[in-house]
Symmetry: C2
């Protein structure tokens, strides 16, 4: 297979614009498409990218296409819709979707692209915009191993940890499972902090003890302070976390299994969302626990 030198990049949002800039810096010839054209023009001015008028035009000038959009329908639209990238791809082209979509959607899109002789990788990322900027994202990849190996130079220009997770859909699956674990750890932390508050425990002492031992977690480091201060300025919205937990439950059902904890976690986040915290940071799950832990009648 020919080495990838020309890359179409579709979706220049907060994450995508930074990822595309890193592809330019790494020496790839980048053909950028974004609904708001000003963002492609900015990338062209600052990093020497080429501006495309449609996803199709971007893909036609490249050997691989990276998509970084919001959800499954957006990925379908920019790849397979009218003037979608697929119409500009010749056989041997490789599509790499870095959006977070369900494993089933990844498999369905992959099947349709392969009919056209186009390879497809589901390659969602974790990490915030500073890590997108530094090129230190974590990227988990599902698809054919040969496609993964061909995509590696592209992925390594955007990520620090790039892992092959298995067949089509498994990149998405790893991302969902990671997020479901984060959701559960955050809920366990929230319950612990509410109990500590109600029982008159020094919460600073509790947080220091947990950080030094078996109660430590990434969620403790990131969310203990916002939870204690009830500061829910959104870094990752509660409704997005709820969506990921539900995708995880659906994927588990598709695999024929139940998730007893996951189901309990889903109800807690749903409750927080129903109480108006959907657009808050998911640290607001503490509000569901604070309200649910009602005094017991004696």
């Amino acid at each position: 297979m020919e080495r990838i030198e020309r890359v179409a990049f579709i979706g220049l949002g907060i994450m995508g614009s930074r990822m595309a800039a890193n592809l330019c810096r790494a020496g790839f010839e980048v053909h950028a498409f974004n609904r708001t054209r000003a963002r492609s023009e900015e990338l062209a001015e600052r990093h020497g990218a080429h501006v495309a008028d449609t996803p199709r035009e971007a893909a036609a000038a490249a050997q691989a296409t990276v998509t970084m959009v919001v959800d499954s329908p957006d990925v379908e639209q920019v790849l397979l819709g009218e003037d979608g990238a697929a119409h500009g791809m010749s056989a041997g082209h490789l599509a790499i979707d870095c959006s977070t979509i369900s494993p089933e959607a990844s498999r369905s899109i992959g099947a349709r692209l392969r009919e056209r002789g186009v390879g497809f990788l589901d390659a969602p990322v974790t990490g915030s915009s500073p890590r997108a900027e530094d090129g230190t994202l974590t990227i988990m990849v599902g698809g054919e191993r040969a496609d993964y190996e061909r995509a590696l130079p592209v992925l390594e220009a955007m990520g620090l940890l790039v892992v092959y997770a298995g067949p089509q859909g498994q990149g998405s699956m790893v991302k969902l499972i990671n997020n479901a674990v984060a959701a559960a750890n955050a809920a366990a932390l929230a319950e612990a902090l509410v109990l500590a508050e109600r029982a008159g425990v020094d919460t600073d002492a509790l947080v220091r003890v947990m950080a030094a031992g078996s109660g430590d977690s990434a969620m403790l480091a990131l969310k203990a302070r916002p939870m204690l201060e009830r500061d829910f300025s959104p870094l990752f919205k509660l409704d997005h976390m709820l969506k990921d937990v539900r995708h995880t439950l659906a994927a588990a059902r598709a695999a024929g299994v139940e998730l007893p904890l996951g189901e309990r976690i889903e109800r807690l986040y749903a409750e927080a969302s129903e109480r108006g915290h959907g657009s808050d940071d998911f640290a607001a799950v503490v509000e569901a626990l604070d309200r649910e832990m009602r005094p017991i009648s004696r």
Copy 2:
């Protein structure tokens, strides 16, 4: 208050023998009692401790008494039973219990000692025997702040992180909450790993991704490998973890609150225990999840 120079140490098990040795190294005159006398004699030979025939005799020679035994009845026995340490204490003596007992038991024992003019701190520790050996335990302390400050040189000879958690019982409370969070994070991890196995995900890739991001936790670092290999060699027994979760639920009820997640976690560990994993490491909670996630009939 006079500075503490002479310390009685009661309970020379795996943890206690190492903690007492560190008191000797720090220059305290240690009067040791242990049910199996050979352990006191070993401490005397190797570290210059004095051997006492009863807890009462040990306490009578000291200004403070550290207890490190198994559960509430043992603490009551060695402090308040026949020939218990309390009978050797004069007013102004300070009792420091490093065992893990319930907050209610701590408050009850403290009240009875204070009637005798004796101070009491609940000061449970976290950390394994290597950290007991190095004097790098975490120690969380409940009781009068003046007693805490007087005890600090003793505690700092055994621990690296020593935190004041609040009034009597709050040291125990912090330890329980930390352990309940560890139990919850371990259960969430177990569920994630079982789902990954069933869905054909590369579990090594999953663990690497979680370790690099929002799914990270102390439990991931300690228990992912034993769970994946179903290696349950006990470092911390499942029944001990179940006991701590139940103590936490009882403390929450005493504070008039419910723990919806804690209750679900309790059922999972109880199920694993009923299936014969009580003496296994608590990583065996994965067995409850592996069995509970039964295929859904379609």
